[in-house]
Amino acid sequence: MSTFPKLLRGMDASTRKRLAFGIGSFLLPLLIWSLVSYAPFIWHPKVMVTESGGVDYFQIGMLVDKEMFATEVENMRQAQQALPAGTPANPIYLPAPHEVAQALYRGLFEPLQQTDTLSMPASLWHSIQIIFWGFLISSLIGVPLGVLAGTYVPVGRLAEPFIEFFRYLPAPAFGALAVAILGIYDGPKIAIIVIGTLFQQVLIVANTTRKLEPTLIEAARTLGTRRLQLLSRVVVPGILPDLYRDQRILLGWAWTYLIVAELIGTSSGITWYITQQARYQHFDNVYAGIMVIGLIGFVSDLLLARLSKTLFPWDRSQERR
């Protein structure tokens, strides 16, 4: 277990400091959540019944409002019956951190008890496929179009005004249309992701392309590069690290469209898991589901950021992060 301190000693002071802040930025919200959950004097507007006493409708484990509980205790006292007992509790929609952690573990690693639901991993896998196809289709159109619009002024002038307009149309508004055209399964969901991502993508990539140092293009031309070669020999390699960064941001964007997309047609994926669990009032599972989306997004972006260092060793802007 001595690897972690060793790892720490291997880092320089600024990396260590940054890591500390990084961990802190997660610990702080967790601390607040824990305080609200575990300190009974903070909030806790409910009482969880541990003994029903003389109150006939109280059941053990039931959550009642604090005032109602006090009234019932008073009633029982006056009626000289057995007093109910209970502990302060938060509403059911705010589970404690350990409950969510358990739910997350259960969801990911234990087999299901309910038979009418998909497991969390299976739901997630479905969601990831929707994102993958949506983002791939969007990129196959958006990146080349963006590069062309950024390189050739006429293409940009022709394409961009319409795209500028279209990107203000909310993607979910196309839900019904997508279902009518593409059916009720994965088609319309992928379409929503594409509509949500593509138009931003063209504009962002075009902008990145325009920021390429013009001297590089001129240098290539004086070296004998023909116009058509410029695109593959200078423009694309020149913008590649920035394009990669754009794609990372856009992938995050695609994730935010996931929930809306999955509600369209027959609901599916992690969204279906979450809504299903909410219907059963398993809010710990709901939080676990939400969190796992965040985790996947966060970790995949971290990995992609790492990867960019190996992919683009010449990219200087990385050293500033």
């Binding site: 140092e213 001297t215 590089l216 001129e218 240098a219 290539a220 031309r221 004086t222 070296l223 004998g224 590069t225 023909r226 070669q229 020999r233 200078v234 390699p237 020149g238 590649l240 683009f312 060793p313 010449w314 990219d315 200087r316």
Partner: protein
Amino acid sequence: MNANSAHLPSYLEQSEAVQARFASIRERDVVLEVRNLNKRFRSTHGEVDALRDINFSIHRREFICVIGSSGCGKSTLIRILAGLEQQSSGEALLDGKPITGPGQDRGMVFQGYSLFPWLTVKKNVMFGPLANGQSTSHAEREALLWLELVGLEKFADAYPHQLSGGMRQRVAIARALVNQPRILLMDEPFGALDAQTRAKMQSHLLDIWRNIDITVLFITHDLDEAIYLADRILVLKPHPGEVQEIIEVPVPRPRSAAQFTSPEFLATKARLEQLIHPAPVAESENEQAVKPHMIRFTNVADNVE
């Protein structure tokens, strides 16, 4: 005229050796000829006459410097010669053929930021040969040869951002020369370097020029640099850019740093200063528009002078 220039010879006086050299240069073929060249920019702010009626010619293996104050059209001229800009009228001929666009027969070195950051030093130099359809192995051999010439063969696999400013410009020179152009066009290539590196690069450039068959057109606004490097100096006058004078530098070759104080050198410099910074009347309109209004941000008692 300032006091000590009274003792100087005229910049027009040439020793016999220098005269003989210019005579032999004039015998050589004309590599570049510029005839009645005009360039007018149309922009939203109106029209700018950047160049007006430029005429000159350059002989094979001649070293020409172009000098002039900021905004007088030096870059415009060299960009037209490189084929990156289109003239409004007149013509520029390379070996008698009109220049219509960029081509590998002219190499260009920019002031900075022109190396491809995603390519190693070697691949940067290989760019030209590969773009012109040569095989990778041939391009690589050529690249290593030219890198050796600029003394950077050890850095072949480094990326440009790992090099100092001087080394980057050496790579840029090698990258331009590997195409074996007829003329090397250089737009203030050493302008961003510190004085020491700059001096080193100047003598290095003269070394290269001595050893290979290349004609050089070099833009600078540093008078010493122009005199140190050039056979002839083309002085441009701003607004509009016109040729004011073409000066034959009377400083004998081979050049060395010791000549910076020689009478010929000082005489030429005095003449250039006279042309470029005449009596202060001729402030350009642009410069007049920028009049800083100095506000005091420090305590009145807190004086630095």
